[in-house]
């Protein structure tokens, strides 16, 4: 089983790497990180703060774009091209296919995030003429961004098994937006007088992944390290949600009929 999943994952990775949009996004992110030095020079006293904020935000935003735009076509492209028939006629279980696809895109994102992080640290090294122990703080923030992207890929994959690429992209983006406002939605649920609306807000709060948990960019820009408990709980939280999302995608895909 693991061998087949690894093969699909590796093929998915190779397929993703062939996408030109991937390189465009990574190059654009690297340019933006480099531009932080120029932007910092027209301000006062925030050279490093701005570089960390802009660098980590670029890693997060461009990682998000890659996760959404490649994630949505993971399954639907196979169906569109009718290569799914060929694949499923082989001794490959449907859950292995979904798992392999997920891991393949995750690997792509890990490599991309690694490249962007290397670009960020090179820029930081150039700006400060060296690196200190304080500069490790952004690394933990990058790890949390990675967890966030793993969740977004899970959401994109789930919608990819259900819907067309355009709709999947819209749904995934909406889930990401709503997932950033969950605390406000809960507050709204508490303040609203309508009981049904209140319960609906509460349901959304517990059902959707809370993406704001993973955002520690501002703290990292001030050299504050992410506390160990937050790293552990966020990792566990992401793992549980990824299990739920990939599990749901497998369940839907298992039931799907291809004619």
């Amino acid at each position: 089983m693991s061998h087949r999943v690894a093969t699909i994952a590796l093929h998915t990775f190779k397929e993703c790497v062939r996408e030109r949009v991937l390189y465009t996004l990574v190059v654009f992110a690297l340019l933006l990180i480099g531009a932080a030095i120029l932007i910092g020079s027209v301000s006062i006293g925030i050279d490093k703060v701005l570089l960390v904020n802009l660098g980590l935000s670029a890693i997060s935003v461009f990682g998000l774009l890659i996760a959404i735009f490649i994630g949505i076509s993971l399954v639907s492209k196979e169906i569109e091209r009718r290569t799914i028939y060929n694949l499923l006629s082989k001794p490959v279980a449907r859950y292995e296919f979904i798992l392999g696809k997920y891991l393949g895109l995750l690997l792509t994102l890990v490599v991309n995030t690694g490249v962007m992080t290397a670009g960020f640290y090179l820029t930081l090294f150039y700006q400060q003429r060296g690196l200190g122990s304080d500069d490790l703080a952004p690394l933990l923030s990058v790890y949390l961004i990675g967890l966030e992207l793993a969740l977004v890929v899970g959401v994109a994959l789930l919608f990819s098994t259900l819907s067309s690429p355009v709709l999947s992209a819209m749904f995934t983006f909406c889930v990401f937006i709503v997932g950033n406002f969950l605390d406000d939605i809960q507050d709204f649920g508490r303040q609203v007088h309508d009981r049904v609306v209140g319960q609906l807000a509460n349901l959304l709060y517990y059902l959707l992944p809370n993406f704001s948990t993973f955002n520690q960019i501002t703290a990292a820009s001030h050299g504050q390290r992410v506390p160990a408990y937050l790293v552990t709980s966020s990792s566990l939280y992401a793992l549980l949600y990824v299990t739920i999302l990939v599990g749901a995608a497998i369940l839907i895909f298992e039931e799907r009929e291809f004619r």
């Binding site: 006062i44 703060v49 701005l50 802009l54 935000s57 950033n180 501002t218």
Partner: protein, 299 residues
């Protein structure tokens, strides 16, 4: 096979197209000038902030509040610099820009510290709004209770801009109790409480600002204040000598050379910008109109 007439027609087309390209490019020049003039007119209109609530922006920016705060701080710096270049006396957007930046990132210490200086300085050097500067710093100490330098800035504005010496001494005292605070904060609290408003105290405060300035414009401002303080002190001394001259000679001195001739001064003294002091129409010592020293800064 392509006939000769077809080749000639193709060459003509190419030439025509090239000429058209050059003409089009030439036509953009007046258009570009017109657009530049129009944008200059629009740039002269008052600065507007479409979203003035930092809390709202913080919610809308999907967690990228740190980056947005940096951009708002940069906007505040640019706005302040632009208004100063225009010699404008109105800095209406400065306060809201700083408020938004610090609401987006309450740990953006630089925005509290320099922002307060920009707001408190008297026009034309700054916005002349010390109360807004105090409000900004008070929000800063709430968000960063352990950062003693914000208390130092608070005390400084109470002392220099509002002349509230007991409040300044209190701020220095509280700041001196914060972790990492330097020892001179305690001394400063005691000095300000005992000798608030005196020249030596003001000089000590500005010297400290000059010593720890991390930015050229703040350092230059501190130097100008120190020069003004020194010039004011020297003028006070010259006024005493002029009064003595009037008493002993029975007439007022027309220039400081009269004091030199009377042996009261070894030479005509020069101010910190290197220009000799003069005697004004009112018979009192003053800085020359050619001097760079801005005595208003010493008030």
């Amino acid at each position: 096979m392509v006939s000769e007439s077809e080749t000639r027609a193709a060459r003509r087309r190419k030439l025509l197209l090239s000429a058209l390209l050059v003409l089009a490019l030439a036509a953009t020049l007046p258009l570009r000038r017109k657009l530049a003039a129009e944008s200059a007119v629009s740039a002269a209109t008052p600065d507007l902030l479409y979203v003035t609530s930092g809390q709202t922006l913080r919610r809308l920016c999907l967690g990228y509040n740190g980056l947005l705060a940096d951009l708002y701080w940069t906007r505040a710096v640019q706005y302040f610099g632009r208004q100063k270049l225009r010699r404008a006396t109105e800095f209406n957007a400065l306060g809201p820009l700083l408020t938004v930046a610090t609401r987006l990132d309450p740990q953006l210490l630089i925005a509290y510290r320099f922002g307060a200086v920009f707001l408190a300085e008297k026009p034309p050097a700054g916005a002349g709004r010390p109360q807004e500067a105090l409000a900004l710093l008070r929000r800063g100490v709430v968000a960063n209770p352990d950062y003693w330098r914000l208390w130092q800035d608070l005390g400084f504005i109470e002392y220099w801009d509002l002349h509230d010496y007991p409040a300044a001494a209190r701020a220095f005292e509280i700041g001196s109790e914060r972790p990492g605070a330097e020892l001179w904060m305690k001394t400063l609290a005691a000095t300000v409480a005992a000798k608030g408003g005196r020249w030596a105290t003001s000089q000590a405060l500005w010297s400290e600002i000059y010593r720890q300035a991390q930015n050229d414009s703040i350092r230059a401002s501190a130097r100008e204040h120190l020069e003004a303080l020194r010039a004011q002190e020297e003028i006070n001394h010259l006024d005493i000598l002029l009064a003595e001259y009037r008493k002993s000679q029975g007439r007022a001195a027309v220039s400081l050379t009269d004091l030199v001739r009377a042996g009261m001064l070894p030479a005509v003294p020069i101010d910190p910008s290197g220009v000799p002091y003069v005697v004004g129409k009112d018979g009192r010592a003053a800085v020359s109109p050619q001097s760079r020293v801005n005595l208003a800064l010493a008030q």
